[in-house]
């Protein structure tokens, strides 16, 4: 297991090592010429103001909606819980397609801020909602008895306890934004990722693309560090005996109507507009013709690649999670942390690194499904590790020992006892990877074998040519494929909170 774990960690660190060695072997003059120029400043400014604006907006929207649904008497809470998560099933580039195809003026900073916020606020809503449900109301009650008003209690007692969830959600939003290509390209708002792709189109894996990659990677790592600092080490669980009660709900009274109106407006903007636009273009597109042949092939390809990558990634996640849970120690932590870097790697950076490495070192893998699968695994391993680790932690280790004492080999024990016990967790991990692969664009564009077209690349080719009707069926199938996995992800959460 430790050997397997180390190999997995090395695979994930490969792109990082490539970019680092690329910069290290470049001359200072070259770095200065390619990095220290006005365009870099422009991209830095665009990327930073988009992240700042969007993270703030997502934090406010995500926390406000989570509080309304979990802590107030707002009606139809079950409905809102579904509608507030559902935007996750619509990839950001499909969302921006929905907006841009109806309102061509929705571009630049304002348009980008609005549209990516609508796509990504559930990333904050989900963890904050879960944290709010888990909070012990006793602390708030103590604050009330000490004479604090409701606002000051929220600011001084509730919010600090939400900090890990909020910081985690905001980090996810930031990292998604740094990696986002399709949506921002469509909205004509150039950030680092968009510019790297443009450099790629003008020079393949030339120095300018690799240098911008290094800057982007540094930005991602900075964000990761910021989140670690923000979370700090503190105790958030209840000390002592007893269990937390569900918190009493705040009566909205006259504010019920505005609250419902606000939630409805949010759902209309984040779901109604993209889905409505999809339906509009589907209806309009059928008057010409829908090419079912290519659609079927693309759907099968996406399904196949998604399934393969999900299997492989979960298999790679197993040793990492197993070491972390069953053999904790410095090595296990180191391995687990290394795979976490996948979170901070934009698809374009990984793809560029793998293109260069495969051409120079392993030409047999160049433009093959295994290489593409490796890219997916590097990018989405953290998602699989989270699911697998949680499941392993809940499976009692004593059962492994019992299996061994009854004469099963280590491998047989894993196969017949541990894996069946952890199946739900593996399933969640696989579902997460699957959704991500079906909607992945940049790595697929760069690495897929010649002739391989996925739903995402077909959709992109059509919508980039502004052939909106032609693009619609591909987007619709992507949304349909993502929906069950999104449902699966939120099922446990909704069950836990059905009260």
């Amino acid at each position: 297991m430790p050997v397997l774990g180390v190999l997995v960690a090395l695979l994930v660190l490969l792109p990082l090592g490539f970019v680092a060695s690329y910069v290290a072997t470049s001359s200072w003059a070259e770095i200065r010429q390619l990095v220290l120029r006005p365009r870099t400043a422009e991209l830095l400014w665009n990327t930073s103001r988009l992240i700042a604006g969007c993270v703030l907006a997502c934090a406010v929207l995500g926390t406000a909606t989570a509080w309304l649904v979990e802590r107030t008497t707002v009606p139809w809470r079950g409905l809102w819980r579904v509608l507030l998560v559902a935007p996750l099933a619509i990839p950001a580039f499909v969302n921006s397609y929905g907006w841009v195809s109806l309102l061509p003026g929705a571009s630049g900073y304002g348009g980008a801020l609005l549209i990516v916020t609508l796509s990504y606020f559930p990333l904050v809503y989900l963890p904050v909602g879960a944290a709010l449900r888990g909070l012990d109301p006793a602390l708030e009650e103590s604050a009330f008895t000490l004479g604090r008003g409701p606002l000051r209690v929220f600011w001084g007692v509730v919010l600090p306890q939400l900090r890990p969830a909020l910081a985690g959600g905001c980090l996810l939003v930031g990292l998604h934004l740094l990696a986002e290509f399709g949506a921002l390209q469509m909205l004509r708002f150039p950030t680092f990722t968009v510019a790297i792709y443009e450099q790629y189109q003008s020079s393949f894996n030339g120095p300018a693309a690799n240098m911008l990659s290094a800057v982007l990677l540094a930005y991602c790592l900075l964000l990761l560090l910021a989140e670690l600092r923000l979370r700090r080490r503190a105790r958030y669980a209840r000390v002592g005996s007893g269990a937390a009660r569900p918190a009493p709900r705040v009566r909205l009274g006259a504010l019920t109507l505005p609250a419902v109106a606000g939630l409805a407006l949010l759902a209309a903007l984040s779901l109604g507009v993209p889905l409505g636009s999809l339906v509009y273009w589907l209806a309009k597109g059928t008057t010409s013709h829908v090419a079912f042949g290519p659609l079927g092939v693309a759907a099968a390809t996406s399904l196949g690649l998604g399934a393969t990558a999900a299997l492989v990634t979960v298999a790679l996640a197993l040793p990492v999670a197993w070491l972390d849970v069953r053999r904790p120690g410095r090595l296990a932590t180191l391995i687990e942390r290394s795979t976490y870097f996948g979170n901070a790697l934009p698809g374009i950076v990984v793809a560029l690194a793998l293109v260069t490495i495969s051409i120079r070192v392993v030409p047999a893998l160049y433009q093959t499904v295994p290489l593409l699968t490796a890219a997916y695994a590097i990018l989405f391993l953290p998602r699989a590790v989270v699911g697998v680790r949680a499941a392993l932690a809940q499976a009692p280790p004593v059962l492994d020992d019992v299996a061994r004492s009854l004469g099963l080999s280590a491998m047989a024990g894993l196969r017949r006892v541990t894996i069946p016990l952890t199946a739900p967790g593996l399933g969640v991990g696989a579902a997460l990877v699957f959704i991500a692969v079906v909607t992945e664009l940049t790595a697929t564009l760069l690495l897929a074998p010649t002739g391989t077209q996925t739903l995402a690349t077909r959709f992109w080719a059509s919508s980039d040519g502004l052939a909106y009707g032609e693009a619609a069926p591909y987007a619709a199938v992507m949304v349909l494929l993502s929906t069950p996995a999104t449902y699966l992800l939120t099922r446990d959460m909704r069950r836990a909170s059905s009260g």
Partner: protein, 338 residues
């Protein structure tokens, strides 16, 4: 728990089935097929590739990409390149591949089919289509008298915020390479600086056409066929737009050559040469003229009567072999357009 135990094998078999289906459907591993790295638009490429397959029975597998991306890609891949043929929309990328010695000499019979101004002196690639630079303008925003005389005028202050370009596209970069070849580096640099201040950047020429048509910008630099294609399809995105052909051998009248070449490393030389022969044959050129692509066929015997005749365009004399792609990219990076 029990349910999940039963669910896992089902999930696994579904996944594996789907994976196998994808491998069968996607990779198209036909040993005899030609691999073409092709930048031209899908409709043009697939029409010509289908025509070739019908005539010869040889299948064609296309890897789409942008001009410079594909040329640099074969440079990086070197001898191990999986490609047999490279086709680009503009000639600078062909020049790049040729300068690195990656292209095989084109059969003399094929070269003889094509008018000599569309063939580089090395004879290592041939043109198969041409496209004219134009200014597409909104007829409500600009009267004919307000139109620029030369494409160089677009760098002047009165065009601030009123002109659209697609700087990351190979088409615009080819136009810049013509400006560079005709006016020299200093003038090109000043022109690019002016455009950085004046122009709105779009991701491609279709986006420019739509923006001009809706009045988002008054005019845009483009190639002729986007407007013709849209007019042929009903004019939804071109009803308010007209074309200005600069003529007078202005850099803005640049006629760009789409080229094709056979990779020296290809193990299918005869078939690849056959493909080039077909592209430039009367049959291949007729397919091009009859397709929806609206690009200019190169053979004098084949014309598309909808287009403004190629004989009246009065383009500047530019040797397609002399256009310098990498130099243009560097200049555009310095101007902050890339």
């Amino acid at each position: 728990m029990r349910r999940s135990r039963r669910a896992l094998p089902v999930l696994l078999s579904v996944t594996l089935g789907a994976a196998l289906a994808a491998c069968g459907g996607g990779s198209g591993a036909d040993g005899n097929a030609l691999t073409v790295y092709g930048a031209p638009h899908g409709e043009l490429l697939s029409a010509m590739a289908d025509g070739f397959t019908q005539q010869t029975g040889i299948k064609v597998n296309v890897r789409p990409g942008a001009d410079a991306e594909l040329a640099n890609q074969i440079v990086q891949e070197g001898k191990a390149s999986p490609a047999d043929v490279i086709m680009t929309e503009n000639s600078p990328a062909m020049g790049l591949a040729d300068s690195r010695g990656l292209l095989a000499r084109v059969d003399t019979a094929t070269v003889a089919q094509v008018p000599s101004k569309f063939v580089p002196s090395s004879h290592n690639w041939v043109g198969f289509a041409a496209r004219s630079t134009v200014l597409v303008y909104n007829t409500k925003a600009l009267a004919p008298g307000q139109l620029p005389v030369s494409i160089m005028d677009l760098a002047q202050p009165q065009w601030r915020g009123r002109v659209g370009i697609a700087p990351s596209g190979a088409d615009f970069q080819a136009i810049v390479s013509a400006v560079l070849a005709l006016r020299g580096e200093t003038a090109t640099r000043q022109w690019l600086d002016g455009l950085k201040a004046n122009a709105k950047a779009y991701s491609n020429n279709i986006a420019i056409l739509k923006a001009v048509n809706s009045g988002e910008v008054a005019a845009g630099v483009s190639y002729h066929y986007y407007w013709y294609k849209d007019r042929a399809a009903g004019g939804v995105s071109s009803g308010n737009a007209e074309l200005r052909f600069f003529g007078n051998q202005d850099p803005g009248a640049f006629l760009s050559t789409s080229g094709a070449g056979v990779l020296a490393s290809s193990k299918k030389q005869p078939q690849a040469q056959q493909f080039l022969a077909y592209l430039t044959s009367e049959a291949g050129q007729k397919v091009l003229a009859a397709s929806k692509a609206m690009e200019y066929p190169l053979l004098p015997s084949v014309t598309n009567s909808v287009l403004r005749p190629i004989s009246v365009l009065d383009p500047p004399e530019v040797d397609p072999a002399k256009l310098n792609g990498p130099e243009v990219v560097t200049l555009m990076q310095k101007a902050g357009l890339l």
